[in-house]
């Protein structure tokens, strides 16, 4: 009997990871990003959410390597006098929390509905998949804008500031589930005709157990691949919504709202307010997508069986 750790160290998964420079580099960068995001309150020079620390006189100071820059603000300040570096750390934190939360919601809804559609088939399948088609035929941003408008009306625009993170998570989560549902459905359709499923039926196990304990574990690899890519998509959706002014409020900026705030000052010379968080976001999304691509190659059963 091998231990789990031994199994992991001897696995093809780890082997191909160690041979792929891009994957290793992306993973290293991702770990740094995650560390920064979750350690933001301890490592950033100031707390940009606390108005006591902010001095409007410090606004639009350029990064330290430019004329007029100061050592106190290594990447400059934004239009409200917040330190860019700290704001970007905190913004990344917000973006990641929303991204992961939204993907968890998407996966939960998508997996359950996709599993039901794929396994039960017939009318259930037809209804659920037409629902997914309908949602797919709207641009997701429109769905998200629509939903955030409803939420703002229901909860009142005033309380939106406190509710922004959970609301955005739910909005982005609800607007993207069909992706998961379709992927899961396709792999469930392949699995459900295998003999081990018939064996489980001959034993008399209830459908619920067959679906979740027998079929689902065998259909999950595809979910892993799309989850990584969907995290990147969710972060971008959040940035897009914030850029449109429907996302995080200016007082608690995410990367998207930071880009939006800086855009007004772009042509007056304060380019760093927009460009730096933009690059930060691009790097983060790029790293996740590269890892997702690598994961897809490794887990693709047509390239490697086991």
């Amino acid at each position: 009997m091998k231990t789990k750790l031994q199994q992991f160290t001897e696995s093809y998964f780890l082997y191909s990871f160690r041979r792929d420079m891009v994957a290793m580099a992306s993973f290293a960068v991702l770990v740094i990003f995650l560390f920064i995001a979750f350690a933001a309150p301890w490592i950033s020079p100031m707390n940009p959410y606390d108005s006591v620390n902010i001095d409007i006189m410090n606004s639009e100071i350029p990064p330290m390597w430019m004329d007029g820059g100061s050592k106190e603000f290594p990447l400059g300040t934004d239009n409200q006098g917040r330190d860019m570096l700290s704001t970007m750390f905190y913004g990344l934190r917000t973006s990641i929390i929303i991204g992961l939360g939204a993907v968890a919601i998407q996966a939960a809804i998508g997996v359950v509905l996709g599993l039901m559609a794929g396994y039960l088939g017939g009318k259930t399948d037809a209804i659920l998949m037409r629902l997914a088609d309908i949602q797919f035929s709207f641009p997701y941003l429109m769905v998200a804008i629509f939903m955030s408008a409803i939420f703002q009306v229901v909860f009142g625009a005033g309380s939106f500031e406190q509710m922004a993170i959970p609301l955005l998570t739910i909005i982005i989560g609800l607007s993207n589930w069909p992706m998961f549902a379709r992927t899961i459905r396709a792999s469930v359709m392949g699995e459900k005709n295998k003999e081990y499923v018939e064996a489980a039926r001959v034993i008399g196990l209830p459908q619920r157990i067959i679906m979740f304990r027998h079929i689902l574990p065998n259909a999950l690899t595809s979910v892993m691949v799309i989850s990584t890519i969907q995290v990147a998509n969710a972060v971008m959706s959040e940035a897009a919504l914030s850029f449109l002014g429907l996302g995080m409020p200016v007082t608690k900026p995410s990367l998207g709202s930071l880009i939006r705030a800086g855009q007004e000052f772009f042509f007056s010379g304060s380019w760093w307010i927009t460009v730096l968080p933009g690059l930060w976001l691009v790097l983060f999304v790029l790293v996740i997508n590269l890892l997702g691509d690598w994961l897809r190659d490794v887990l693709n059963p047509k390239l490697y069986k086991g």
Binding site: M1, K194, E195, Y196, E198, A199, A200, R201, V202, I203, G204, L205, P206, H214, P217, N218, G306
Partner: protein, 340 residues
């Protein structure tokens, strides 16, 4: 073999058709006005047979003749379109999931492909304990482990391998584990759906011997589905020959191999290669097996039968009992035509 005892399993006029016509748009047809047209595969047509306690009934036939479908209908994986199935005198084909449960313990199945029939994400222990725990909720962990170890020993798999995953085993070992899963609930009746056809020839004999040993030890009754005629003769007490979802002939193995009655059975048996024969006396059938989507009228075999007459093209032959409890569905045999 006596037919006077109550059979363990009786199948009466079972019909199973599959609708493959797809959605509404696929069904639209424009022949002489617009109407909906359903396409069905007639997998099992009016099959009747019975299995006595303690015997091995083999169901033989070429690919696509409905053998596996019949097995799945008997075990309630598919609901028959019509007909009745009795187990130990109780009708079981119309039961709900809950009502089926007591019969699940008594009727189990062994599958064809040992690479597909074990869940790749479950260890041997999980695979074998699951049915045990499900049907005996009060069983303690120790009792379950003991039972699993006992059954693993019975099928010739070392109980020390209990924590391994299926991919760590060879095909023959996997099939043994699959058999262990079938046995773990102590069933009386086992449907074996081509249990050796996916295995290497040297392993086939081992698995067949194992199945026969287990039958004696545990007093099992088998419904054995296969297309391998050389296997059939050795293991079965009776044989049912299936052609296009219809039973042509049902007879004891000895009678069937020595004096086959139905023209299809004769052609089938003449195809078994024999050692020492200089020139094989194959009966060559004309044409191809018709598609089960459009069944021929009358006797399903008439298009390929050299003895076919008018009646065969029009009338579906009855399934008649001859002497020595042989059943044949053929107009020629019934009327005593000269069948060569």
């Amino acid at each position: 073999m006596t037919t006077h005892q109550t059979p363990l399993l009786t199948v009466e006029n079972v019909v199973k058709h599959f609708d493959i016509s797809g959605g509404f748009l696929d069904q639209l047809a424009f022949k002489g006005g617009i109407h909906l047209e359903k396409t069905t595969v007639k997998a099992v047509n009016n099959v009747s047979l019975f299995v006595n306690k303690g015997e091995t009934l083999s169901v033989v036939g070429e690919s696509g003749c409905g053998k596996s479908t019949l097995a799945r209908v008997i075990l309630g994986l598919y609901r028959p379109n019509s007909g009745k199935i009795f187990y130990d005198g109780q009708r079981i084909d119309h039961l709900s999931h809950e009502q089926w449960l007591p019969y699940r313990r008594k009727m189990q199945m062994i599958f064809q492909d040992p690479y597909a029939s074990l869940n790749p994400r479950k260890t041997v222990r999980q695979t074998l304990e699951e049915p045990l725990r499900f049907h005996n909720p009060k069983m303690t962990a120790q009792e379950a482990v003991d039972k699993v170890a006992y059954v693993m020993e019975q099928v010739g798999v070392d109980p020390a391998w209990i924590g391994r995953y299926p991919h760590e085993f060879s095909g023959g070992q996997r099939q043994r584990i699959s058999i262990a899963r079938g046995l773990i609930l102590d069933p009386n009746f086992i449907v074996a759906d081509e249990p050796v056809s996916a295995l290497d020839v040297s392993i086939q004999a081992q698995i067949l011997n194992l199945l026969m040993d287990l039958r004696e030890k545990h007093d099992l009754t088998y419904l054995f589905i296969t297309h391998d005629l050389s296997v059939v003769r050795h293991i079965s007490s009776r044989v049912a020959v299936l052609y296009l979802g219809t039973v042509c002939e049902l007879a004891s193995a000895k009678d069937l191999f020595e004096s086959p009655r139905h023209p299809y059975t004769r052609a089938l048996l003449s195809a078994i290669p024999r050692i020492g024969e200089k020139k094989a006396k194959h009966i060559k059938l004309k044409g191809e097996v018709p598609t089960p989507v459009n069944l021929p009228s009358g006797c399903v075999f008439h298009g390929r039968c050299v003895y076919a007459r008018d009646r065969c093209r029009k009338e579906f032959p009855r399934f008649n009992e001859l002497s020595n409890s042989t059943f044949v569905s053929c107009h020629g045999v019934e009327e005593g035509w000269d069948l060569g």
